[in-house]
Symmetry: C2
């Protein structure tokens, strides 16, 4: 039998391959694979469904990720997917695969984190599955939420001249991870050493305890603005800009000088001899929202803290970055690709 290696496809290639094999049969199934969440018609409103699986050794390293943070993050990343449809998360299910070396107290820590997140985001834990695992820890979360039918934001709705906005700041989670990896190596070499992460707590916090931007969904609703398209940028700004461009059939022009990057991120980039712009574009793990709005809506949201316009959509199909030098470069996707 023929054998094709998985890494020849990559994660996006594999998803595309799966997607082509399936079609929707039930009238309630409004949207399937291909956005931040699936959409089910429940009558008055749309229900949104999204799911994420976190595996030890792939998505997290228990050497430096506290179990409580892991529990919190597993909920937050799912809530973020619902926010990316302009919806509000309401329920989650959590399935865990637990190895024998995990104690009841360790499991309690995970669920403490899950509980904190449930309280912060007002979601209910309504079910799940618990099983033993022969290998590492597995956490699989599915989230359900609601959105009014006239408020749902897909990846495919952006139009030329729409303004492209991003929430929060970029690249911090990436450098948080670099710092944690470095401290792990220092610790392995010299177990007596206590890491001093105080100065970098902002970056480490962004990596360990990302927050879903449900606040932005509420802000947009209050301002009376429905984004023409929206996506969560946890896989990296660059790859998600390309998703919006491809799925909406428009081009994108963004500006280096507009990218929101914190001073501490800039400083740490210098320390690691890495480009802060590359981290902002491709670092990933920033659970922020990227969305487009009509130009006529800009005045309504321009005073909302934490929303930064970084460019606009164009008639062409090009996806480009205008550097501070004035030159223009093409943007290519280099999102996290856990299959490679």
């Amino acid at each position: 039998m023929e054998r094709t290696e998985l890494n020849t496809l990559g994660e996006f290639g594999l998803i595309d391959r799966i997607k082509t094999k399936f079609s929707l049969q039930n009238p309630e199934s409004v949207l399937g694979i291909g956005d931040d969440a699936a959409v089910i018609d429940t009558g008055d409103r749309y229900m949104l469904v999204s799911t994420d699986m976190l595996l030890e050794g792939v998505h997290f390293d228990l050497a430096y990720v506290p179990l409580r943070h892991l529990g919190y993050k597993s909920v937050a990343v799912n809530v973020s997917d619902i926010a990316a449809m302009n919806g509000i998360a309401k329920q989650i299910t959590v399935s865990v695969g637990l190895s024998n070396r995990m104690s009841v107290e360790a499991v309690d820590e995970i669920y403490e984190g899950i509980k904190f997140a449930c309280e912060d985001y007002q979601v209910d834990l309504i079910g799940g599955d618990t099983t033993s695992s022969r290998s590492g820890l597995v956490i699989s979360v599915t989230v359900t939420g609601f959105v009014d039918k006239d408020k749902v934001a897909y990846r495919s709705g952006a139009k030329p001249n729409d303004i492209l906005c991003v929430t929060g700041d970029l690249g911090a989670a990436y450098f948080g991870l670099q710092i944690l990896e470095r401290e792990k190596q220092v610790f392995l070499a010299n177990p007596g050493m206590q890491p001093d992460l105080e100065e970098k707590s902002y970056l480490v916090g962004k990596q360990l305890k990302p927050e879903a931007r449900t606040d932005i969904v509420h802000e947009l609703a209050e301002a009376g603005v429905v984004p023409t398209s929206m996506i969560d940028i946890s896989d990296g700004l660059a790859s998600e800009i390309i998703h919006l461009s491809t799925q909406s059939g428009v081009g994108v022009l963004i500006f280096e000088e507009k990218l929101p990057i914190e001073d501490i991120t800039m400083l740490t980039a210098t320390e690691f001899k890495l480009s802060p712009v590359t981290a902002a574009l491709n670092g990933g793990e920033d659970y922020q929202l990227l969305f487009t709005i009509k130009q006529s809506d800009f005045d309504k949201i321009k005073n909302v803290t934490d929303i930064t316009p970084i460019g606009y959509m164009t008639e062409s199909k090009a996806v480009e970055l205008v550097l501070n030098s004035g030159s223009k470069v093409g943007i290519t996707a280099q999102g996290w690709n856990h299959l490679q």
Copy 2:
């Protein structure tokens, strides 16, 4: 820090521990942990949500489980949970963790099986997650479905004198597994040997390709019968009878002579020197439905093939089996407990 081993709790103990920490906050969340599926109020109807995670080396052995069957089963077991609420499954999400040694063709096989199941049960694959796995194959499926509000069947609704019914036959999947395990040992000892499973194909089929009883949900609806309680017996008839008893606050009396056990199951039990009744009670993996109906409803369903009355609910709290000898024994739970 204190350390308590997980196996001191067991799976049900762990679920109870988690359950006590969480409560429901959103008005849409009608029912959380503790039944075959969670219940969400979507307006006109209830939406049902259930999830199951299958891990290599715990739930399946790729030495004898074909990937296509695994894909099929991962959907069927979830659809069964929706049927156990008297509902109809409509959508699934499938997340997979794939090790490097898995080829694209192998992944295709899994999704072929998923697709067959989607067609058989008329459910839509609407999303999921794909990731690499450092260890074995992980499949996590979440299913959503609908039920009319006046038709939902909980575990807690059984009343004294209700008739207890089970669908299909019992113990076959258990002996299917025994045969597969035996053939694996034969094969490991003598790789040239080809197993002859023809004669046992019924049993092996029940293990490898269980079917969810959505047909029964339709039959009950046609007959105009709403079960007073219902549960899926994949964890074993005995433990699920106890669940109905505990959650409904009633006792149960069942009769050995009424247990539906196929001749081939009887025969194979003799071959393995095991009790067919024990397999029927505790073997597990029978994706059948166990439900109670009012005595007055019995005439409406007595001619439905594949439904067998096996006993009735009582005023006492005792859960007992009347043996063919006439003596009565208490039933204890020995369901699959993957955490032990």
